[in-house]
Symmetry: D4
């Protein structure tokens, strides 16, 4: 693998045939995991014919082929509030995991019900890196970054309506967060967050 | 007074002489309090010559003339995070107070240090209406509205830089808050928030 | 009920099955009303199999299950101009009503035909809280807030085209309204307006 | 004069010397009125040395030289709400007047106090063209256009703060007005509105 | 007819049944023309059952019922550049015509081929009011307004891509035009332009 | 010279001392012309002490040191409408000229007075490359590109107010121009346009 | 051919019948190539019935009819990074080629893998004009313009999501590029880039 | 120190007296370094009276008080292109250094002159974390992230004009970068980048 433990194919903007073909070739090399993001089930069906052990993750909309022993080092925690943010959260979790990180999830902990979040303070504080996925106003990033002393990566999502502006509002909110120790990736970019989280997490292994 | 207990003059865009003259006339009627918002000290100096008991509030940048007995009913709580938001918070507090509400303040309670806020849960929950003043990403509105069961008025402020967009970012964030029970007024509009808070607060007196 | 008299489920972004399941469980507890907002008829059909007394509101696109005696206290007035804003107005009216408020409607009163609105001055002035739903330029909020001395909640709608910017224009217009006593919720957020209106209305009962 | 009865010089972006020189030359021809918009007092002082009967209008920030008999035909009504919009309203009134129109003013009639406006219904309805100058949310254009059956030109102003966006909000609001019979010129463009109002007004003379 | 010679129904956001019903009732009164804008063919089919002399205009997407003698006074000229702007241009032409104006069209005259436009200078100059419909960068409004001495109404259209921003770019361009004598209506609002053009045109009849 | 015939220093964001020092060093090498853009007169005064033959161009706000024989090849035509756009036009003209191009100017030819422009058709058509500098709505680029068959570079300027949005409006308008054969550089970037014009012009020499 | 060697028809916004008819007529004249951009396969099928030697380019979504001997002068290089930008790149390449330029392609050379680009330095430097097509952040334009001394035309594409803003982000980035020698056309406007590239390229033939 | 090795005071929006007082108190505790960001020289002068060993950093506009032994662990590399971005780069470098990181700088390496950057490949690849500071179009982040396999933090700066939009353009560009392994902080937020870089860097020490 060029960088990390998975070769990645971004399937949006490719035909299902193109996507499946590229992934089949990468899987054939057998050297590293293969991850196809933004993949429809159709991509998966095509790929499975060539690569029977390919898997499809419905929520993350990703195709995965695992190769070799899977590493699971350190600790990445993916935090998300609403059900509707899960597809992005799972994309992040799957990516970091395939890249070799041990990944945990903490879902359904929004700022509306703060006490649910505070009850999980221990889990928050034992992670080495955190990914916070949040649509709406994105306040969750500030709250989590205020509770931990570790790097926190914010992923704004396009979930919401009206003034949410397809994710621009949480994106801008996360960037102006008054809590240091966090940074931001593109709207809905669970892959980018998972990739970076793994990269940071593994620095702690060196 | 036409509506509430104070006649209000918005001094921005008027010459100091115009502002002072209008306020002097209102004060002369002696029927209600007079409030001059966005007033420079110069307005105040001019007014004091005519109305010796006029007062100036440096932080709220407001001129005040009190007339008759001051009411102090119910309970409005003004919540703010940073020092730099205080001029807006004080404009809200002063307005609600002049209109006849009992006003309390809870300052320096940002989302970065959540525990400071949580320690004040009792004060938050005994207020009848709350005003939350916040710049940066405006996450404080969601957090506070999640902790209380009373109407919360959000005032985004123009304090911040870059992606804060002179207050547009917290304004948009407050409008998309995932916590019901809150609404929003214009950026830096402490007056509007204080006016509305008093209006709601006094419904509880009827 | 955690807060108020209805448990609320936001059906957008959930599968019909998920939505129906959650509501069926809440209805089974039998303690409070259940409200499913942004619900398709499909959600309702699924729910009705489990909860025969569930109702569907076509205009508000909401599913409702009523439990126990329905309160109808105080007075919330929902004002709207055009036919096309009714789905948002009805979401607000239904929400406030299920939460325990007495709700009245004043529809088809736009700023283009001011005299129709002025003929209803009495009804406007006897309400304890008002919700003004308006697309286009949103001028109705300023006009109504100028006529009454009660809190007015503005709901901009996404109805219009071109410079209306999917509701951003009335949202910005409502926020800069020169009439005090009003505040704003997100574009098309009838639920948020109805929830807040009930909260304020019931302060007047205490 | 190429078009109408006044030669116009736009002084912004020219040095005072340049502006005064151009206007002096135009005045020397003696054929038509000369109007210098966005002119500082300094421009006027320089011009007066050459053209002793030049006048300066403080509010409209305009320099004027009248030549020949002044026409005053038909009827243009300039409507404005706040004191702070007067500089734009006066630019419009002065322009239309110099171009040969009879101009009337109706100031201090905002949507917040509708009854003041309604009391002037007769004056509104006897005008041949109306110019409505409004900052804040610009609702006044819709209200006035709904009351009369004549062309109404809206001029949004940059007066306001926060969500008013230096005039973009009333500009967008005026463009999406639900009342037909109106159109819009650029923010603060009193000159353009007065010019067009005179053009339309004089069609009624033909 | 309340205002002008046609009753207008805006069909977008109404069901075909609602639209047809309202128009049938208006046509039954028989007093004035009836115009249904943004109407699908389905609306027309429904209406024709009740009102056999109803007509449908494919390009303008409008339903029309003519009643009584049709006036055709003065002269409105509708100017447009591209084929793709015709649906808006025809909405304007049809509206002004139904309201009683004599309407002419000048199509396929863009700024790219200026000489085609200049060859029509006579027709441009004999019109009493002009409507300029333009997508792309909207430069046509400035060019036309520079050639005539009559009021010109600009209608930006949403035709274009990328930086055209669904019509915002020509809208902003038209508003900042350096040529006086023009004003602007909402993107794609052919109806508003035609309505206003007729209003101005008929001033010239008085 | 690294690329072309002049070394360029962008003086904005440097102290006058820094700017003068860098230019003095480049001039000392004596190999190529030196151009300091966005330079205050102070920069020039400092430089002149070291480099007595340095020149200052007030309109273009540029410092120039000429070295060796000056080339003047081919033909670049800089076109501009208003007086206020001249500082950008002159920056373009000076840059192209120092880089070795023969430069001509055609100023005061706006779309408002098209005939002035058309009278210069010969000069427009004999240029090898054109630079069109325009603020307001930027329509001049489309008009000029429609008249010639050579590459036209558009430079939007920040001159204007309100909807002109500090140059964004002409920038967007130029990008959506319906006339092929043109491209656009950044707002006010006379340097970039002049640099590119010279580059293209000199292709014609090869 | 009016300008260049191909007559161009922009098929978007025309019916397939209209597009095919216009192109058939142009082809019948037999004087120059005919190019239909943004054409569906349906347009091609209709045209082929009349013009059997018409061709369809799937990637560029263009219909082509070649007439006479094809010129192939000078050298235009089209550079693109991702697979998803190819439809725009091919539109540019096809346009320049039909207009008479010799066109080369350099694809799959993004900034992520700089060394692939650097290995092609010779090909970059032998081109007379370059077209750089890039979505995402558009950095490729700056990198390429920094490596060559020839005019570079940037075409931002709408490929990406979230903060990419349908191409606005690379468009703005390309306009603010710190490397001189480049200019920008509209988002996805491969045609405009190809047209201009040919125009510049052929200057080098004179 | 609550978090890291320096107590931080954000001086913007505080009076010099307030800033100096807070820093003096923190310095008196003697436990950790004290950093005052966005501090004027006046703040420093006031502080020096109380804390003689306070230092002022002109470029980073920061006041520093060092306490105890200074750690210098791992390796943070701050990369910047132009002179004008240095104040942000130095804020980042100073912050990371005070927090305990070994910091190196790589300045004057823009995308315009790629070879200067490539010559430093070794230094780029030996850093554990990188901070890339870039105004203009922000392309440098993509280029650097493509060359290294370590986390890269992008800091857009507000340096530029026109389409640079005070830093929004590089901010959006960095967020849509097609190279994984990077994330973004607010415009001009050197402090946030330095803080986070240290946090990540020190993970590598554990
Ligand atoms: N139409 C709506 N718009 C915004 N928020 C809503 C809406 N309807 C319900 N909600 C909120 O969504 C919450 C339920 O979300 P969920 O748990 O995802 O079903 C409720 O408590 C409300 O706060
Ligand atoms: N306040 C104004 N806003 C916009 N355009 C104006 C204004 N005043 C004058 N103009 C226009 O500017 C032209 C004069 O411009 P100039 O030749 O630069 O002085 C006049 O003919 C008007 O069309
Ligand atoms: N295409 C249109 N765009 C904007 N407003 C329109 C349009 N067509 C009709 N209208 C306006 O909508 C009103 C009728 O609205 P309604 O009562 O909802 O049918 C008319 O009186 C017009 O003022
Ligand atoms: N007015 C300008 N606008 C944009 N870029 C410029 C300008 N003047 C010079 N430049 C660019 O800035 C570079 C010099 O930058 P510097 O090394 O910071 O002086 C030159 O090579 C040009 O590419
Ligand atoms: Mg933290
Ligand atoms: Mg609450
Ligand atoms: Mg009121
Ligand atoms: Mg009217
Ligand atoms: Mg004209
Ligand atoms: Mg041309
Ligand atoms: Mg180059
Ligand atoms: Mg990398």
């Amino acid at each position: 693998a060029r960088r990390g433990f998975a070769e990645v194919v971004y399937c949006e903007g490719k035909t299902p045939e193109q996507s499946a073909l590229i992934m089949a070739r990468l899987a054939a090399r057998g050297e590293s995991n293969v991850l196809g993001t933004r993949a429809t089930r159709e991509v998966f069906e095509l790929l499975k014919k060539e690569v029977p052990d390919a898997e499809y993750d419905d929520v993350a909309r990703a195709v995965v082929v695992r190769r070799g022993e899977q590493a699971s080092l350190g600790s990445v925690l993916v935090v998300a509030a609403g059900t509707s943010d899960l597809r992005v959260a799972e994309e992040a979790a799957l990516t970091a995991s395939l890249m070799g990180s041990h990944v945990e999830r903490l879902y359904d902990v929004g700022v509306a019900g703060l006490h649910r979040l505070l009850r999980q303070l221990d889990r928050l504080r034992t992670a080495r890196v955190l990914v916070v996925v949040a649509g709406m106003e994105g306040a969750l990033l500030s709250v989590v970054a205020g509770l931990v002393d570790k790097p926190v990566i914010g992923v704004p999502t396009s979930v919401g309506y009206g003034a949410q502006l397809q994710g621009l509002t949480p994106m801008l909110g996360m960037l102006t967060s008054c809590v240091p120790g966090s940074s931001v990736v593109n709207i809905d970019n669970g892959f980018g967050a998972g990739y970076l989280a793994n990269m940071i997490n593994r620095l702690g292994e060196a």
